[in-house]
């Protein structure tokens, strides 16, 4: 009985294993994207946030941002790009390990790690968006009184003549999938525990 309590439900192991495995994909594809539309940009503009860099129309967006006094986006300004790949690798490995080693302790450690990572990332992202949207150059050519340009964290927001859509990219959907699997596994474990009692 005691050994049964320390090991995991088989569904849990599968879920965590898959979650861990797919997380690695997030290293090679963009995680988040911001799509921009404007009347004079029929071709649209896009910004992709990867684990380790920014891709898309970064240069064009930086050029436009200078009119409103927004800081330029540069990879080197974000320590996250150095640290994030390691965290994702760690999450992936620990997930796979949990599935193999089949230990409840490791599983809960992974869950807490994942949860903290998720919460911190969301907070960090919000703070960056706030900073860039509010700390504007006071000598900027275009100054609309009271206006700030904080891009949306998720969803749509109009900023002057630009419509900004902030949505997950491939990597983001994968992570969301991994979160779903993690929660499912967590509930499985907790319910199973309850059932036993």
């Amino acid at each position: 009985m005691k050994s049964a309590q320390k090991s995991l439900h088989s569904t849990t192991r599968i879920l965590v294993g898959i979650a861990g495995a797919v997380l690695f994909i997030a290293l090679f594809v963009p995680i988040w994207q911001i799509q921009l539309t404007a009347p004079q940009y029929p071709e649209g503009l896009e910004l992709f946030i990867h684990a380790d860099k920014l891709t898309g129309d970064v240069q064009i967006i930086n050029g436009l941002n200078h009119y409103i006094g927004m800081k330029e986006l540069h990879k080197d300004d974000f320590i996250e790009f150095t640290v994030l790949p390691y965290i994702i690798v760690a999450l992936g490995l620990i997930g796979l390990l949990t599935a193999v080693v089949n230990r409840k302790g490791l599983f809960f450690f992974w869950i807490i790690f994942f949860a903290l990572f998720g919460i911190l990332t969301i907070i960090r992202f919000y703070l960056w968006l706030y900073d860039y949207g509010h700390n504007l150059d006071p000598t900027a050519p275009i100054q609309v009184p009271g206006m700030s340009y904080q891009p949306p964290m998720i969803g749509y927001k109009k900023l002057l003549n630009f419509g900004a859509y902030s949505i997950p990219a491939t990597g983001g959907w994968i992570m969301i999938g991994a979160v779903v699997m993690a929660v499912w596994a967590f509930l499985k474990e907790v319910k199973f525990k309850k059932k036993k009692i």
Binding site: P39, Q40, P141, Q143, G155, Y156, G163, V183
Partner: protein, 674 residues
Amino acid sequence: MTECNKNNNFNSNLIILLMKNKLIKATLIFSIVTFFGACKPKTTADAISGNAAQKVYVAPGEHDEFYSFTSGGFSGQVAVYGIPSGRLLKVLPVFSQDPETGYGYGEDTKPMLNTSHGFVPWGDQHHLAVSQTDGEYDGRWLFANENNTPRVARLDLTTFTTDEIIEIPNSAGNHSSPFVTDNNEYVVAGTRFSVPFEDEDGDIPISTYADNFSGAITFIKVDPQSGRMAIDFQLKTPPVNYDLSRTGKGASSGWFFFSTYNTEKAHTLLEVNASQNDKDFILALNWKKIAEMVKEGKGRKVKADYAHNVYDHNTHSATSTILNEVHVLDIEDLEGVAYYIPCPKSPHGADVDPSGEYIVGSGKLASLIPVFSFSKMMKAIEDKKFDGDYDGIPVLNYEAVLHGEVQKPGLGPLHTEFDANGNAYTSFFVSSEVVKWNVKTLEVVDRQPTYYSTGHLTVAGGNTKKPYGKYLVAWNKITKDRYLPTGPELAQSAQLFDISGEKMELLLDFPTIGEPHYAQIVPASLIVDKQKRIYDINANNHKYVVKNENDTRVERSGNRVDVYMTLIRTHITPDNIEGIRMGDEVYFHITNLEQDWDLPHGFAVMGNNNSEVLILPGETRTMKWVPTKVGIIPMYCTDFCSALHQEMQGYIRVSPAGSNTPLRYGTGDNAPKE
């Protein structure tokens, strides 16, 4: 329990599980929220109605209703489009050389491009003004500005030719130009770049801009009969930039309004430094009073060199004179004729509505449109409602002059024109749209997107006392995907709107030459009946005219050879010329003897370091040729003139320098024989 039942149980259990399971519900809700939250709102698709095609189709053989005289921008020329078809009718050479006609290449037209800096082969043509009588177009002349080497041109609208160009001294960046007073008394030109005046030391550090540089507003008098231009006087002003201006009319006749920016007096990084002040100004000028002051002897003479070039349709050639003096008044010395109206923010346009009562300021970085009232302005002046002064010129109190503000009209208003129904149409560059609003109530009536980022717009007669309305053209700055791509460099785009109804209707999208900054849309009826079809050969007073084939000849005077030549269907006289030598300068004086409609001839010589010349019926043109090689050099007519155009050719024999080949010439039986 049968297998069937077991399955049913399983299915229903699954559904219950799915519905009860909070996790799955949560995931579903989350996904839906994300999906819809991230959904792009639908943009209003182009509502091109079915009969747009009919409204712009001008059937074969039919004519357009309006001429659009459209500026060529950095091409230096003026383009003529037909409205509503959007068809390009002609490109008129004004400030740039035109090798197609020989404008600026041939000896008769080269003087047109002469300046105090010497010969300038290119210009930057921004704005146009059709001559006005009592605040309405009279269709006699078209005035055009040159922004780079400050000049104003006058085109004759019976011949569609550039007949006069006057340079503007003490000026740089002739942007706020040309704008006519409501009875064509003056063509007014203001500067965009302030510089030291010609009677001051110009070799000074650029950073002394605020103290030593000056703006200039020039009043060019126009002779009401001949159209001849002469600079009556100039105003020397503080170093602010003048962007656009408009004459007062009706109630405000006698006044002129200029949008000014860079009141920060910046001389570097203007993008930032000229955008700092919350408000710049509209300068209100009582030009009638100033002109009287000049008559009374106010002001001083300043020594400045500037060219005045005139083309004569009887001598078919241009003469260039350098003038040396201009009459200048310092604006600070004048009382009661100049006032500043505060206007947010880096205003581009200062536009006067047809009644003359309302003045619209379009601040290109502003998020509202202020509309000022002329009668309120006069009252504010009377009541001395000033908020201090700027360099000695009284600044009126904003609220005291304001009629009202159009709130949240769009982003980046630039320029406004009007229809005859009390509506204003403003172009918005940043939000890429045209917005229609009511001048009195200040309410937005309609908005339509432009493709893309419109700069100026033109309403037929939109700057006059009685606009024709009906059509509006938005002249755009960004083209991208509007037409078939043509490599990285694309033509500018223009959209034609039907503004006869409550809502504006997009009719047509057409590409333009150069970069149209502005246009004047004039009813064809004002112009078509006065058109010249040929030049009367009997009135031809060209120095080297030949009115008869018998008078054709070749004459030598030292190293200079003059060829007196005629062209008529379908031969050149003389078409065989011998005795030209290396080291000669040969001048072909070619007269087109035709007196028939649409029968130009062209003329070109092989290897000529020069362009061809186009000669209209009854005209004479002089083309210079310096022979480059010994041998036989062909010449021919370049403009298809008749069934045997291909046979309209000739030969020139070039002998070595110092040879004694006799000078012989002729056509047919008169051609030199062995």
